[in-house]
């Protein structure tokens, strides 16, 4: 046991302590921006999805029309996406985007599900009374959400997405061929 306190270990622990102290200091400053790059890429993709999907029902209403994006995720995720939306306009200028927390939203054009399990998914579908034009984007294929049209997956350290064409065809939406070119089609 005494060897634990030998000189080199003392020096090591002292340096480690200082390093960790500085790291924690930074993390406390940086706590709100703790999202991984993977999460940020997902949000950037969702942002592009909005631009490449046409909601037919909304095309007939007064312009610019509103796209409600409902997020089933933590607050920092939501905050980052709001900032992302605030910095750019989606696709054409006819769409304005509103970002909502899923559990407080009543109707959504696009839902991003992140943590939902089978039980809450079914409850959510009931609460939302999902219409024929709600596009559901699932965080990974491991999330149980039977109505998901787009599912993210990782391939060779790159973020990819799969489009369920059958599901998309059943919705009242059009999806751009530009988006489909980059997707894995199910």
């Amino acid at each position: 046991m005494l060897r634990l306190f030998s000189q080199p270990l003392k020096a090591l622990f002292r340096k480690l302590f200082v390093g960790i102290f500085c790291l924690l200091l930074c993390l406390s400053i940086n706590a709100e921006d703790s999202l991984s790059k993977e999460d940020k890429l997902k949000m950037a993709y969702i942002w592009h999805f909005i631009g490449f999907i046409n909601w037919r029902d909304l095309g007939s209403v007064k312009r610019p029309y509103e796209i409600r994006v409902c997020i089933d995720g933590p607050n920092n995720f939501l905050a980052f996406f709001r900032q992302l939306v605030g910095s750019r306009q989606a696709g054409d200028l006819e769409k304005s985007v509103v970002v909502l927390q899923l559990n407080t939203a009543r109707k959504c054009e696009l839902i991003y599900v992140r943590y939902t399990n089978k039980k809450t998914a079914l409850k959510l579908i009931d609460v939302q009374s999902l219409g024929g034009s709600t596009v559901i984007v699932a965080d990974t294929s491991s999330i149980y959400f039977p109505d998901a049209s787009i599912i993210f997956y990782i391939e060779n350290k790159k973020l990819r997405f799969e489009v369920n064409l059958k599901k998309i065809d059943s919705l009242n939406v059009d999806i751009s061929s530009e988006l489909l070119k980059l997707a894995r089609i199910k």
């Binding site: 030998s6 000189q7 080199p8 270990l9 020096a11 090591l12 340096k15 480690l16 200082v18 390093g19 102290f21 500085c22 790291l23 200091l25 930074c26 400053i29 940086n30 921006d33 991984s36 790059k37 993977e38 940020k40 890429l41 949000m43 950037a44 993709y45 942002w47 592009h48 490449f52 980052f80 996406f81 900032q83 992302l84 939306v85 605030g86 910095s87 750019r88 990782i154 060779n156 350290k157 790159k158 973020l159 990819r160 530009e178 988006l179 980059l182």
Partner: protein, 364 residues
């Protein structure tokens, strides 16, 4: 005990360490991808973007490494030898002097190096770096010399400065070849002195090879590495440190050759544990520092095993475990611990017990 300049450098270095940590981690606070940056990316750009925070925003990199190694006990070949067996009890004792026992025996050797490296990326394939080590060494001894039954020697100072160039070649979508070559300059001292049992007027005698801070020669490190970037993150590499000429004390440390492999996996996008195996072969010392020998000693002129150039080198296989933590974009922390699984040493020679490395790198 040590020249004032050394003590001042050491104290300044301790303070600089804290400042450096604060600079690295405070830079981290402002190094995240911003929402507007992500919004600016096209769909095609997103498609080719790595999910990890890679891709330097600046060509300059600063890295800080702390490495500690402890040697304790002895091996002759693969056989353990006790300190008592290595210690010769002197001309008045009952034990006969052989070439395998000595009047002075180092019991614990600890070495730690703090290395500051500055790198510059010339292109996507070429980069270079320069590393400056600060070394602290300490050795506990037992001896049969009256008045020196237990004593300790310490040395510290700047070691050999190394400049390395690295070329990366992307052979396919899944693999990267890395070739590195460099030069190590003889900036570390080979004239360290201390109070040893050898009788002199000022109690300052030249210290053995292990207590010197540099090699005293121009050395050339080379490495070749292949990293498979597919589903499994595996890398293998060959390395060598070729030493040339003879230093001012008429010796040259032995060449080192290594073969290493590492498997890394994703615990999360930010945390990658890894496990590695490393085979290392090092040669004996060529030549000899004659100031370390005592001609009057019976059988062998070497007062300690670490003064005999033939009792250096051997083969080792290390197991290493570690964790890479991608703190943020352009900031990485790696912690690694290692221990030898197999050792065959030209002995009797002090054996390595463990080693640990902490590395922090940051794009400036």
């Amino acid at each position: 005990m040590y020249p004032l300049a050394y003590r001042v450098v050491y104290e300044v270095f301790k303070v600089k360490y804290i400042q450096l940590m604060l600079i690295i981690f405070s830079a981290n606070c402002f190094a995240q991808s911003t929402p507007s940056e992500m919004a600016e990316m096209s769909l095609q750009e997103l498609f080719f973007e790595d999910i990890y925070e890679v891709g330097a925003t600046s060509p300059w990199t600063l890295a800080f490494k702390f490495k500690a190694v402890e040697f304790k006990g002895y091996l002759d070949g693969t056989q353990p030898v006790s300190n008592d067996e290595v210690l010769w009890d002197g001309p008045m004792g009952v034990e006969p002097r052989t070439a395998q026992n000595f009047p002075v025996v180092p019991t614990v050797i600890t070495q730690n190096a703090t290395v500051l490296s500055l790198g510059y990326k010339l292109s996507s394939q070429w980069q270079w770096s320069i590393s400056v080590p600060y070394i602290n060494q300490e050795t506990d001894h037992i001896s049969s010399v009256p008045g020196y039954s237990n004593f300790k020697i310490k040395t510290s100072g700047i070691g050999d400065v190394t400049a390395v160039g690295l070329y990366s070649w992307y052979s396919s979508n899944e693999g990267v070849w890395g070739f590195s070559f460099g030069v190590s300059l003889p900036t570390g001292s080979i004239d360290e002195e201390g109070d040893t049992p050898r009788p002199t007027e000022d109690d300052k005698e030249p210290l053995p090879y292990t207590m010197q801070l540099g090699s005293g020669t121009y050395d050339f490190p080379f490495a070749i590495n292949y990293q498979y970037g597919g589903v499994h993150d595996i890398s293998i590499g060959l390395s060598a440190r070729i030493r040339t000429g003879t230093n001012d004390r008429d010796y040259r440390l032995g060449n080192n050759y290594g073969l290493n492999s590492r498997y890394q996996f994703d615990l999360s996008p930010k945390l990658q544990p890894f496990i590695g195996l490393e085979f290392e072969y090092s040669e004996k010392i060529h030549g000899q520092d004659d100031s370390l020998i005592i001609v009057g000693l019976p059988v062998s002129p070497y007062p300690a095993s670490i003064t005999n150039p033939k009792l250096f080198g051997g083969k080792k296989i290390h197991l290493k475990l570690g964790l890479l933590w991608r703190l943020a974009k352009d900031h990485r922390l790696t912690v690694e611990i290692g221990a030898p699984l197999y050792k065959k040493l030209n002995g009797p020679q002090p054996k390595e017990n463990w080693q640990t490395t902490i590395n922090i790198s940051s794009v400036l």
